[in-house]
Amino acid sequence: MSRLAHLLKARETGIALALVLVVVATTVKNPAFLFSSDGWRDLLLTPSILMLVAVGQAIVIITRNVDLSVGSVVGLSAYLTGRVFIDLPGIPWPLVFVIGLVFGGLLGLVNGALVAFAKVPALVITLGTLYVYRGINVMWTGSDRINSSDMPREFLALGTSSFLFVPWLTIIALIVLVAAGWFLRTQRAGRELYAIGSDPAAAHLYGLRVTQRVLAAFVVCGALAGLAGVLYAARYGTVNSQAGSGWELDAVGAAVIGGVAIFGGSGTVWGAAIGAYLLLTINRALPVIGVQDFWQRAVVGVLILGAIVLDRVLAVRQSRRLTEARNR
């Protein structure tokens, strides 16, 4: 099969096409959507942070788990970022990225350990830690908040400035995406994540290190949410105790729209990333197209349903084709 044919048949292609369509349609209606420096920047920038979270989420979902606590992790790590700048004045700002990653990773480790060792369903555990992490956040933050004046200018500049017309945040998100995509596709450990999600019992029989890999997936997911928290602080400049709340459903939604099967084993982080872009770009495009503020959620809902139905139709078609191929 030629590369082109392969590309055309990939699950992600349809969703990428939908994204292009949305952008083109909106731009035709209002050229500023794409052809203004802000329009271009926001197109790339706005979804970048969610994209990081969606990539992490996709990795966890591929192992047939789910992490509902990501929104709370984003919030905690965003606040931590601000606190670090306030409490450790003069700290070189690149260091906060490391702090955010490690901190998020630790929170992910808690989730992963509970899921992998106690063998309890990820949905329940991470629903619990969603509350706990957010509660800790609120307790810690109180009615305090981080203002942009609390953070160094160079750090805040990351949230808006660009390099060769591509915003820095987008570059960071893309680097992570490429790394994750590369890892999942070309590394043994990455392939094992798929195997585990595809059939956990078989993975166990096969001798794969299921516990360890699932744990690692949660740590990575947490770390990426932590990184997203740092970027959140840079992008929005103000952080209160509710930062990132509700992102868990956006992240799961992005992954599902992007063709990551909710029962594990298939899908790519590329799909999840495109899903995140589609979700947020639609959000931004709808007002431009003239859909009233209030109806946007409904359109997003229809879109999610459409995406999973499409995915299902394709899957059924493929399995029928495979069955027919067998009865050759």
Binding site: N30, A32, F33, S36, S37, D38, G39, D42, T46, V138, T141, G142, S143, D144, R145, N147, S148, S149, G159, T160, S161, Y232, Y236, G237, T238, V239, N240, S241, Q242, A243, S245, N283, R284, P287, V288, D293, F294
Partner: protein, 317 residues
Amino acid sequence: SDDGGSGGGGDGGDNLAITFLPKNLGNPYFDTSSAGGKEAVESFDGTFAEVGPTEAAPDAQVSFINTLTQQGVGGIVVSANDPEAICDALNEARDAGIKVVTFDSDTNPDCRDLFINQATAEGIAKVQVDLIADQIGGAGEIAILSATANATNQNAWIDLMKDYLASDYPDITLVDTVYGDDDDQTSFDKTAALLQTYPELKGIISPTTVGISAAARYLSTSEFKGKVALTGLGTPNQMRDFVEDGTVTAFALWNPSDLGYLAAFAAKALITGEITGAKGDTFEAGKLGSFEVGDGGTVLLGDPYVFDADNIGDFDF
């Protein structure tokens, strides 16, 4: 000093346990008003407390009001997320002998004893429209970035702004009103969407402190900085950077600290029986002097104050 249920009866005298219930916690505007309230309550030896939900959801305040009713506090000072949803809970509190003062955002008049109005709605609407008209030269497209879609005070102001625009500035068109839900990130993203949707946009009014600071932050780094005017209601501390860097020329607000201070004294006056909340009652409000209850059980703090580069340095809240 506050041990929770301390209210019940005090020491034979009046129950001066006064609790502030803002729309949500973690909102600098309300932090300031509560600070003013605390100062006032301490000045007359009452017991101050602040409780509230983390998100400005309409129904979230009800269980807090219920709890306060059970605790038997002397007075509740509340800024309503929804004019109706908390009404019954407040009335139950009043039935239990608790005095209810609303401030900042009112409920239906029959669910509270007094409303402390930061400024007349007309005055608030007028000052913002005048500011934007001045900044965009009296003509062009403007938009409004509000708080939640159901916020009582914002909706009232927006209606008045529309009337005032129609009558006094026919050359200004209000193209859209969007809602940032008093959430930083949402307000930020809505600002971006506004600027893209309306390339001809000349100005934005954001009659909410969360909205205006998020919008200012977006504008300050965008190509529209200095081209699209922004005004509305903001706190000096949040807006200082943007006034200094030229994103914003002027914005308005009353002193939220004074607002809280006055509300606390109003609650005290009600509790001690100094006033009943009827029109014409007068009471002393410490450092702010004497106030009179106006129509509909409303007490007016004063006129909104306009902050600009010249005076912003004088304020810290």
